[in-house]
Symmetry: C2
Subunit: 360 residues, 2 copies
């Protein structure tokens, strides 16, 4: 059984060129006040301050597909389902977004062509354009040989969130064409929540907590707005093992059951509950770095719905030159220790589930 990585990012050159041509967030460039730091990718306004830790370093591992292949070989990964990462295309002027999306998706499709049976992809949507443009790109993606779904952030159309009813034609198109949505955090949480000493803790708090909390909020909003009541066949792969959903699903359902406003409004009477959605519509990656978390993910969604991932090229080894990555090892070990002697299920989570679910 092949090992499949469903959470692995690439910035194709058409996209990095666009970011290099810009002088405000999001953008890529080097800084005169930190000349040795190389090119930096600055995604968020809060990262855009003058210091050597402005944004994050971006080297060829972000855009050169050969480096992805070398990483896979060194870390024993057979197949990768690549996707564009933050900040995708939702910041583009609406009249440019549809064209750029086509170019990005064509570029990614070409990479997959170049490495047959080793690469598949999630496409990118022009979410700053109209719902019609987005639906057209979903339909185009469904005809492309290596595309297996789409990656989206939590912003929705113009920042109004994934619980906006304006997304219904988009959800309908994804459901109709059988494409999986890879849902990935973008913003984290407002900076004030990290407190006055946050800078002493590096990027730990926003990355470790902001991302999964953002994801949990976004999916809970989808659930409460009835997305899965209206689209019962919409399948969503949630990054980072669901944010914190497996752990908090019980509390979410209890809060719904005890809410006088919801009860008296009658809105949620016929609603599907989160446990049902977790087992029928939600897939989870295995990017959780611990046996405890992975067990909870499997308990929540089922061992047949959890799929190995790496988050490459993020979280590289701090000692340059290491080719086997600690971040990969932590996730592989979590699968092995959580499932013990059940080698068949280890193989399912490491690749078999992805082959079946994404038809690789």
């Amino acid at each position: 059984m092949p090992v499949v990585d469903v959470h692995t990012h690439i910035y194709p050159s058409v996209y990095t060129e666009l970011l290099r041509s810009r002088d405000k967030v999001p953008y890529i460039r080097s800084f005169p006040d930190a000349p040795t730091a190389g090119d930096r990718l600055v995604i968020l306004p809060a990262e855009d301050t003058a210091s050597t830790s402005r944004g994050r370093p971006i080297g060829s591992e972000y855009y050169d597909i050969r480096q992805k292949i070398a990483f896979k070989d060194a870390n024993e990964i057979d197949i990768s389902v690549i996707s564009l990462a933050n900040p995708w295309l939702d910041w583009l002027p609406p009249n440019e977004a549809a064209e750029v999306a086509k170019k990005v998706n064509d570029d990614v499709e070409r990479m997959c062509e170049e490495y047959p049976k080793r690469l598949y992809a999630f496409g990118t949507l022009p979410l700053s354009a109209s719902a019609n443009d987005v639906v057209a790109e979903i339909e185009r993606l469904s005809t492309m040989k290596h595309m297996r779904g789409v990656i989206i952030g939590t912003a929705g159309l113009g920042g109004t969130g994934l619980d906006d009813p304006k997304l219904d034609p988009i959800y309908a198109a994804l459901e109709r064409t059988g494409q999986t949505v890879f849902l990935h955090p973008r913003w984290g949480l407002p900076g004030e929540v990290w407190g006055p000493r946050a800078s002493e803790y590096g990027h730990v708090l926003p990355l470790a907590l902001g991302f999964p909390h953002e994801t949990t909020i976004a999916v809970s909003r989808m659930l409460l707005s009835g997305v899965w009541d209206r689209f019962q066949d919409l399948n969503v792969l949630i990054a980072h093992s669901g944010g914190t959903l497996p752990f908090l699903a019980g509390r979410i359902e209890s809060c719904v059951a005890h809410d006088a406003h919801l009860k008296h409004g009658g809105k949620l009477e016929r609603r599907r509950d989160l446990w049902d959605v977790l087992k029928k519509n939600i897939y989870l990656d295995a990017v959780i770095y611990s046996e405890v978390g992975l067990k909870a993910a499997i308990d929540a969604s089922g061992a047949d719905r959890v799929m190995f991932g790496t988050d490459h090229p993020f979280f590289p080894p701090l000692d340059t030159g290491e080719t086997e990555w600690l971040s990969v090892r932590l996730n592989t070990r979590a699968v092995q220790t959580a499932l013990g002697d059940d080698q068949k299920t280890v193989e399912d989570v490491m690749g078999g589930n992805a082959v079946r679910i994404l038809k690789l």
Copy 2:
């Protein structure tokens, strides 16, 4: 083996009288625009808007200890470790806080005297006063017969958080007197994260997600600031099964291990990791409403460190008149299903651990 509830709140009358005498947040009163809604407790500025859902209804179950006893009898709970709930005393003028804390703690101690072997308590600290005043109250609490520790929110001294080094004398006093800290969320998250349709979802998002996320952030800040390196015997019972810590501990440790800033700063070289702290300094309540969450809590901290709780008088049944509470049943059932046939461990989590840890 008795059933022990370690997470159960009371607002003693000295405290409710204080809130009734006020006309701005936090306060208790009825509203002319909603005369049938009865008395409402308004804790947060965001709750203080004119509607029938302003704040929350507050009846005698919030302050009459006889109602707590009746609830316990109806729900088969033998011993309760009661504590003041939101918003504690940190909003008081500094020159009043120490006196009010004494009155509140004396009032709670009297309740415990009244029901021997059925009530113990976590005391309240005057966190708007000076660290000296707080330490004095900690020492006084340690001499009181039914006090078993203190409850605190996430604000710290004057809102600077639990990672403020100014808290060190307070942590030292708690460690020295062997008192357990019951750490409980207060604020949730900034309202903007719930999005433009939040009001359609009742109180679900802030309660179900805001509270545990706030807790997770607070404890992570304590960890990263080295609180448990300096106070290796400081014991903290974390509300709601640790917020989301059991699920995210792996991601937190991975983010630390991959952070160039922390590595090159050298600050965290000798740091204790979160798994070690979870197993030696952290206790978790079992207020998580699901088997999946409870298993993760036990996997993270150990079955000898998790203790049953109810969050009474919050989350009452929506059908008035029901004396057996759904919220209690969900948590009891989670313990039973998570531990299956291991009746000894079920009894430990339901009460034995609390008896041993809190010396009841």
